[in-house]
C-alpha cells in the first residue's frame, strides 16, 4: 500500500513528468491510469475535475507542476537549497512557456491547419524559448550536461519529456541546439530512467 498514488490517463501528457520523477528516484507508487472512457465517471472524484492528481497519505493534490515539484523535493531531485531550487524552477517555467507556444499546433484537429501552424511555430516562435533554455543552462549549469549544478533535477526530466514531443512534431527541431540534444541523451542513459523507458507503455502523447 503505497503512500503515493498518481491518478492520470493512460498516456504521457501532463502525468509523465511525475512518473519520470518516481522512476529517477527508484520510488514505488501506485500508477493509476484511466482510459478515456473511464474518465467521465471518475471526474467528480478529483478536486478540480482534472488530472493528474497525487494522493499523498490520503490527501489529494491537483496541478501537474506542483505535484512534480513536490515529488522532486521529496526525492532530492529539486535542487540542493532554496536558491538552487529557484534555478531549477526557472528552467521548468521556461519549458512551460515553450509548451504553451506549441500546444495550439499540437492539438489542432484539422490536419491542414495543423501543418501550417506547426510550420509557423517551429520557424518563428520556438527558437526564443530554446535559446532561453540555452542561456539558463549556461547561467546555472556549472558547465556540465545538466541544467542546474552537476546533477539530474526536475529541469532535465521536464526537458526530456518535452523534447520528445518537439521531436515528434519536427525531427529537426533540436538540430541547432547540441547541448539540449546531449542533455536528453544524458537523462536517457541514467540506469533507472533507461529501465523505466524500456518498460513503460509506448504512447503517442
Amino acid at each position: 500500500m503505497s503512500i503515493y498514488k498518481l491518478h492520470y490517463f493512460n498516456f504521457r501528457g501532463r502525468g509523465e513528468l511525475s512518473r519520470l520523477v518516481f522512476a529517477a528516484a527508484g520510488q514505488t507508487f501506485e500508477d493509476i491510469r484511466y482510459e478515456r472512457n473511464e474518465w467521465p465517471s471518475n471526474k467528480s472524484k478529483m478536486p478540480l475535475g482534472q488530472m493528474p492528481v497525487l494522493e499523498f497519505n490520503g490527501t489529494q493534490l491537483p496541478q501537474s507542476i506542483p505535484v512534480a515539484r513536490f515529488l522532486a523535493k521529496q526525492f532530492q531531485l529539486a535542487g540542493k537549497d532554496n536558491l538552487e531550487q529557484a534555478k531549477v524552477d526557472a528552467v521548468v517555467d521556461t519549458i512551460a512557456d515553450l509548451i504553451v507556444k506549441y500546444s495550439p499546433a499540437r492539438w489542432e484537429p484539422d490536419e491542414t491547419k495543423k501543418k501550417a501552424l506547426l510550420k509557423k511555430i517551429f520557424a518563428e516562435d520556438l527558437d526564443k524559448h530554446l535559446q532561453d533554455l540555452d542561456v539558463l543552462r549556461k547561467l546555472y549549469g556549472d558547465g556540465g550536461p545538466f541544467f542546474v549544478g552537476n546533477h539530474l533535477t526536475l529541469a532535465d526530466l521536464y526537458f526530456y519529456n518535452t523534447g520528445q514531443n518537439l521531436l515528434q512534431m519536427d525531427e529537426n527541431s533540436l538540430n541547432n541546439y547540441p547541448w539540449l540534444k546531449q542533455n536528453r541523451e544524458e537523462v536517457e542513459k541514467q540506469p533507472k530512467i533507461a529501465e523505466y523507458i524500456k518498460n513503460r507503455p509506448e504512447m503517442p502523447y
Binding site: 515539484r69 536558491l83 529557484a86 524552477d89 521548468v92 504553451v100 547561467l139
Partner: protein
Amino acid sequence: MATYKLYYFNARGRAEVLRLLFAAAGQRFEDSRFEQNTWPSFKSQMPLSQVPVLEVNGTTLVQSQTIARFLARQFLLGGRDGFELAKVEAVVDTINDFVSILSPIRREQDEKKKKEQLQKFLNDDLPKHLQNLEILARLYGNGGQYFIGNNLTLADLTFYDAGETLLQLDPNCLNNHPWLKQNRLLVASQPRIAEYLRNRPKTAF
C-alpha cells in the same frame, strides 16, 4: 545577510506579488522600476530579455512565478512543510490558470473584440475558476480565512493581486464569492501590507 534587487516596469503587472511578499515579510529590497522609454537600454542586460528579474546575493533569478516561490520559501510564506508548500503552489497555479486566459484579452487592440472577449471571460470562464479556488480553500484551509492552514501564504497574496485586476474589470465579479472577498480583506488588513498598499505608486495596471 541577503540583499535583494528587483527589476520591473513602473507597474504592478507580474512583479506586484513579489513586492507584496517583501512587504508581508517586512524585508527591505531595491525596487528598481523602468519607464517604457528606459527599458530598451536595459533589456539586453536581462538574461531572457524579460522582467521581472531578481538579483539575490550575486545570483540572477528569472521568471516571475519562480521568484515568487523562492521569496515565499525565504520568508516562510510558503506553508509549514513540503506538502503544504505543494498546496500553496496548487492554489497559485489555479489562479494563474485564469490570469493566463485574461492576459491576451487585456492586450487586444480592437476595442469591440476586447469587450466581447472580456464579457465571455467574466460570464463563462471566471465563475468555474473561482469555484475551483473555493474548493481548494475548503480542502486545505482548515475552515479558516486563509487558503492553506491558518496562515498567510503566497496563495493569499497571489489571489489578492489577481483579484485587484479582476475587480478593475468588473467590480461585481466576487459578489457571489463571499469567502474570496473576505480572504482579500484579511490580506489587505495585515498591518505591513496595509501600509505598503497605502504608500505604493499608483499605476494603471
